[in-house]
């Protein structure tokens, strides 16, 4: 038995991904990503531009005490962390600062600013994910006949067109969720994003409780890249609904260090929301 929860592990893994130059949007139902982004701001990414939730609150929490991790992405309490609040439709138009990969590399050349750059990273949920990284939040069944109605696409496809890397995320790893082909597409995978010439690159990873898939740069198909502690390749293969291809080297994700866990629990998640 590890001395950290699965949600804590996820928060630490995502916090490690975040860079000081990033602009990040975190949507709804995502306490793990609230924790990851706030932890990153408080430890190694104090300049990261962070949008939390539907009030489109642009937050910087470097010098702010987080009493309790927010339970909804829309609460009035989020205003405590905010420096700027916008109407929700502005999410897609003009909140925050212009960005994009070239903006950071060649920041002094204004011609390289992409005004529609939505964010560098965004986290995408799904009730199904397939080997192309297409995710499905719409439901199961056929057009006109749902056997299961999902929550809906929310704004995921709107965001996908302008985010450099999305992180598809499912909360259980089994053959019902990781499938050959999703019933409906709410967030297109890398291949469809490329074919449609989106600014956004589509998913960088598919993250499950067992492992992380990345994408083969040539075929744009998912491949097993990293395992979480104590998980084996066979375990992943036995529980995945598509043929699992592997990267040249499959590494194990380092567990949270003592310092990372301490920072998470004392700076961001004092009340243990991620341990419930």
């Amino acid at each position: 038995m590890s001395d950290y929860s699965w949600k804590e592990l996820m928060a630490v893994v995502f916090a490690r991904e975040i860079k000081d130059t990033d602009k990040i949007t975190s949507g709804a139902h995502t306490e793990i990503f609230f924790a990851a982004t706030m932890l990153a701001q408080k430890t190694h990414a104090p300049n990261m531009k962070l949008q939390l939730g539907g009030g489109v609150t642009l937050c910087n929490v470097v010098d702010i005490d987080i009493e309790e991790l927010p339970k909804t992405s829309t609460g009035y309490e989020l205003i405590r962390y905010a420096e700027s609040v916008h109407d929700h439709p502005d999410t897609f138009l003009f909140y925050g600062a212009p960005g994009g990969a070239r903006y950071y590399k060649e920041g002094n050349d204004l011609r390289n600013v992409n005004h529609f750059w939505f964010a560098d990273k965004f986290f995408v949920g799904g009730i199904q994910v397939d080997k192309w990284g297409n995710t499905n939040m719409i439901g199961l069944g056929k057009p006109g006949k749902f056997t299961f109605r999902g929550p809906g696409t929310i704004g995921i496809n709107d965001i996908a067109i302008g985010v450099r890397d999305t992180y598809a995320f499912i909360t259980a790893h089994d053959k019902r969720r990781l499938v050959e082909k999703v019933d409906f597409i709410s967030h297109p995978g890398k291949k469809i994003c490329r074919e449609n010439e989106f600014y956004g690159g589509g998913p960088k990873w598919i993250v499950t409780p067992k492992c992380i898939f990345d994408f083969d740069p040539d075929t744009l198909e998912a491949r097993l890249a990293m395992l979480f502690p104590s998980i084996t390749v066979e375990d992943v293969k036995a529980n995945t609904g598509f043929e699992v291809k592997t990267a040249k080297k499959v590494e194990t994700v380092p567990p949270p260090s003592k310092e990372e866990l301490e920072a998470l629990r004392t700076l961001v998640d004092k009340t243990g929301v991620l341990r419930q």
Binding site: T72, D87, K145
Partner: protein
């Protein structure tokens, strides 16, 4: 001729009776915040049927309640649920899976694009989001076309969404229908602007002088109808006034889940307890209890 301005303050009964069977009605708020619940409950009490409901971009269980009460025929919504409390609305599932409601499949910005088109008098608004997804396959009102300028990229044409009424919860309003939000506004201004008429429910009706102190903050100007309902957003939060009632929402989730699983008695009892039995909004608040209501109070973070 008179030079006296027309006041639009109305009783909740008169206001809700303007919502007729078969109308298209937009319901404001977002997630667990700022939903016009007093009006929603009154519409259910009136037995209003066959509504086309235009939900907010992230609708909460206020829409699930309307569905479960049998008021909804067609739904415009990119999401119905309550995040960590209830990821997917149970009545949404029950009615969508049995084909009892029609869903106008969309994403957040496709919804806004339709509202923009209506508000600005355009035949459609163009948007790239939705390309490469199943949304255009599920919603035949959306039309894909090729960008006539660059000649290569696919774009979605979103037709106007025109509600007859928008029902919006604000912090306060004056008697002339000038409403001000005292917290996040979410998509309320767009829902209101696209609608033919605006019905505002306010925590307080205030003197016009309060509005004039900060006209920059007027978010809904010249609403057609204003209703004063303190705690009118309960069980959801009203920014600047109170937070959401978690116990009450969890009871809702439990009873609506029972309904989805076939236990209609539990659901009917819920509707009776919280919608049909209380004779008016204040009787409803008495069922919540004064201690609970005071506990939900939030000290204003921002001064307006």
């Amino acid at each position: 001729m008179s030079n006296k301005r027309k006041e639009v303050v109305s009783s909740i009964t008169d206001a809700a009776s303007q919502i007729k069977d078969g109308m298209t009605v937009a319901i404001g708020g977002f997630g667990a915040e700022n939903h016009p619940m007093a009006l929603v409950r009154e519409i259910i009490r009136n037995g209003t049927k066959n509504l086309t409901v235009v939900a907010s971009a992230t609708a909460g269980l206020e829409i699930d309640l309307l569905i479960g009460a049998g008021c909804v025929k067609k739904l415009f919504a990119p999401y119905v649920g309550q995040e960590m409390y209830c990821p997917i609305g149970h009545n949404l599932r029950k009615y969508a899976e049995s084909g009892q409601i029609e869903i106008w499949e969309c994403s957040e910005y496709i919804l806004y694009a339709g509202l923009f088109a209506a508000a600005s008098g355009q035949e459609f608004f163009a948007w790239r989001g939705g390309v490469g997804t199943s949304i255009t396959e599920l919603n035949k009102d959306l039309v894909e076309f090729i960008d006539p300028i660059g000649k290569t990229k696919k774009i979605v044409a979103v037709p106007p969404i025109r509600p007859n009424w928008a029902l919006i919860h604000v912090g306060w309003s004056d008697a002339y229908g000038n409403g001000q939000h005292l917290g996040a506004r979410f998509g309320d201004r767009w829902l209101a602007r696209a609608a033919d008429r605006i019905m505002v429910q306010a925590e307080r009706v205030v003197p016009n002088a309060v509005i004039r102190k900060n006209p920059f903050n007027t978010t809904i100007a010249y609403a057609d109808c204003v209703v004063e309902v303190p705690y009118g957003g309960h069980p959801y939060a009203a920014h600047g006034f109170y937070k959401e009632d978690v116990d009450f929402i969890q009871d809702y989730v439990k009873c609506s889940e029972a309904n989805r699983k076939g236990d209609e008695a539990t659901w009917k009892d819920y509707l009776k307890r919280h919608v049909h039995a209380p004779k008016d909004h204040y009787a409803y608040l008495e069922t919540v209890g004064i201690k609970k209501l005071l506990d939900l109070y939030t000290h204003p973070i921002v001064s307006w």
